[in-house]
Symmetry: C2
Subunit: 396 residues, 2 copies
């Protein structure tokens, strides 16, 4: 599970770059994405009740037509700052629109980083002028660097599939390391495809993909006020949205890209040493399977046990039993990797050293067989370590 | 907020003691409580779907009449062990009942500690014989020690109030340090009062008190499979349950005792250095106030910021905005101690050093004024430190 060497600018007609403008002390902190001929753009946003003015702006922009560009700063979330914050978001959109010959509402804005600290707007203003001097740059890697905050690495995914007679490509970049919670569109993510998909269908496809990827991943149960995922379609190749085979192939490709992006985010979770994948099988409904998977992935006692390579299946049972779902402990079986630790409601003799060896690998796969239905769900998370505490007690 | 020197055996007619029987390596691990003339006994249990057989037994016992005694072991939760676990619970109840001249269903059983490890039943069996050689011991302190697991201190609360013409006493002991979550009856707790309260009214009063105390406290969002709170009434002094003043006075006294017990639990949260008290004012409904208070108290990013003495009010906003409640960021104000950091939707200049000084004290009080209603709620939690990780990566 490594970041791709390909980036969103490997999609024809997608331009992007990233620079250092001065929000952060030295790293890249300003990116743009420009898709002049986009036929559609879909978006999903945080469900937090406290949102950045950029999210307010982007929601409006999404409703008013096809978004053609995004301007993104990292290092400062421009949130909790009253009218001045909203004014700065609007100015970022206006300036970008002017330089690209677009309307303000065709430009999305994202700001990610610390909340409540005034945005150094002059640095951003001159940065926008500088980065858009040439609006047709193909530096997706630079953009992927510039959107990061506490991330340790860039996060890019590229996949392609033959749909109909054409190679359909989807490329994405994302960021996020802390304040990552399930049940929402978390973090920032930007995707582009060369497919020709109308606005509503692209939105439906993105909603479905986010629901089984970002919404099933968690670092720390906290939810950013800036979370945004945008997906552009350049329209180069037709995908027949009325042809079930073609449409399902596109949805599958988008799901795969979003799942890879979400996994890159949780694997780089603050302080994490490994990815944890929890699969629930045999649930009465998908909703219940999802709730149990998320409960396990969110449990601090599960996360610390896995960090400690401790096959403490008691904590797995505890975490599975927390949500308000159907669950019959007498029918339950629990696996770490291929090893069963608990079967049909009773402890099983297991090879402790063999399971410790599985726990020491990355990723760790945990499976629950509920045996009370046929629905399934998978969630992704990471372990919880002293380093998470260190990073977050001294964030400033 | 210190543990009381008085214990449940300071209530006339309540007997208890604690010994080391051999579940743990050296500390006390077996306690009994015996209230031979109890007029009523109320109980509240975990809402986890995976429960210890002791919880199954106690729920049945509660329905079948007045519980007169409890036998409690720490160091082993006797959970996840199939039929052998259920058999051991039943044998513990039977043996205790035989020695006290009670029926099996008049004896509650609690087992707390590691899940999935077979109970060393012979040690418990000889321990029960030994501890009940004299069933009328007044060693509440010993019992309070014997119910502990990772706790660093005993947790006892005693309060009294003049209700009608009599001094009504309530004493309680509790345990718990990790796997402490809101929205359930968490941990173990045992209370006794000298009041004369019928079974149903005592149950109603306990439900209400738990709802605003244990159910509003959280160490780590995890929920034990053994959680149990029992409350006995000895019947010494009448409380007129039909007299509104007397009944409210009793309910208030019980609430105060339960809140103190819950605060003792979270203050001793695994690795915690301080208690955090979060109050939500001006919410549209109590339900929404509770949801926001619990979201803030549960947020790892809030907990680590407070551990780091960092007045990061952005994280407070983020955590308040997470639950699905009404919240208008433009009307919101946030206080740490008496200092306002965010007012009517905008950042406020504040004295950074003064607030760091407040954060360095124990407890830390955080208040949100929502200004969109008149409902209020308070929740209690603790900070999140490296020590929590250390304790829980190496629990065995």
């Amino acid at each position: 599970m490594n970041t791709s060497k390909k980036s969103i600018t490997d999609i024809e007609g997608v331009f992007a770059s990233g620079i250092h403008c001065g929000v952060k002390s030295d790293k890249k902190d300003l990116a743009y994405i420009y898709v002049p001929d986009a036929v559609s753009c879909a978006g999903v946003f945080t469900q937090n009740k406290v949102v950045a003015p950029s999210v307010v702006h982007d929601r409006k922009a999404l409703k008013s037509g096809v978004i053609k560009a995004a301007i993104i700063n990292s290092g400062n979330a421009n949130t909790g700052l009253g009218k001045s914050g909203a004014d700065n978001t609007k100015k970022m959109a206006q300036q970008t629109a002017d330089l690209l010959g677009l309307k303000t509402m065709q430009v999305a804005v994202s700001s990610t980083g610390i909340i409540g600290v005034p945005l150094p707007f002059e640095a951003i203003e001159s940065g926008i002028t500088s980065i858009l001097a040439d609006p047709k740059q193909k530096d997706g890697q630079g953009a992927a660097e510039a959107i990061l905050t506490t991330d340790l690495c860039t996060k890019q995914v590229y996949k392609e599939a033959k749909i109909g007679k054409k190679i359909i490509q989807i490329a994405g970049m994302t960021k996020g390391s802390g304040m990552i919670a399930p049940n929402m569109a978390t973090t920032l993510g930007y995707l582009a495809t060369n497919a020709n998909i109308p606005q509503q269908q692209l939105q439906d496809a993105l909603n479905a993909a986010i629901d089984m990827s970002y919404n099933m991943s968690s670092v720390d149960t906290d939810t950013s006020t800036s979370d945004t995922v945008l997906c552009w379609a350049t329209g180069q190749h037709n995908v027949n949205v009325r042809n079930k085979t073609e449409w399902e192939a596109f949805q599958t490709l988008l799901n795969e890209v979003c799942i890879e992006m979400a996994k890159l985010v949780v694997r780089d979770g603050e302080g994490a040493t490994k990815l944890i994948e929890v699969t629930i099988n045999g649930a009465p409904t998908v909703k219940e399977a999802r709730a149990i998977a998320k409960s396990v992935i969110d449990s601090p006692l599960v996360k610390t046990a896995i960090y400690g390579n401790d096959p403490n299946w008691g904590r797995l049972l505890m975490a599975a039993g927390k949500p308000d779902t159907r669950l019959n402990p007498d029918k339950l079986s629990v696996f770490i990797g291929d090893h069963v630790l608990y079967q049909d409601g009773d402890a099983v003799e297991f090879d402790h050293e063999a399971i410790v060896a599985v726990l020491k690998k990355d990723p760790v796969n945990i499976t629950f067989e509920l045996n009370i239905g046929s629905a399934t769900a998978t969630a992704w998370g990471c372990d919880l370590t002293e380093r998470y505490i260190e990073i977050n007690t001294d964030y400033n």
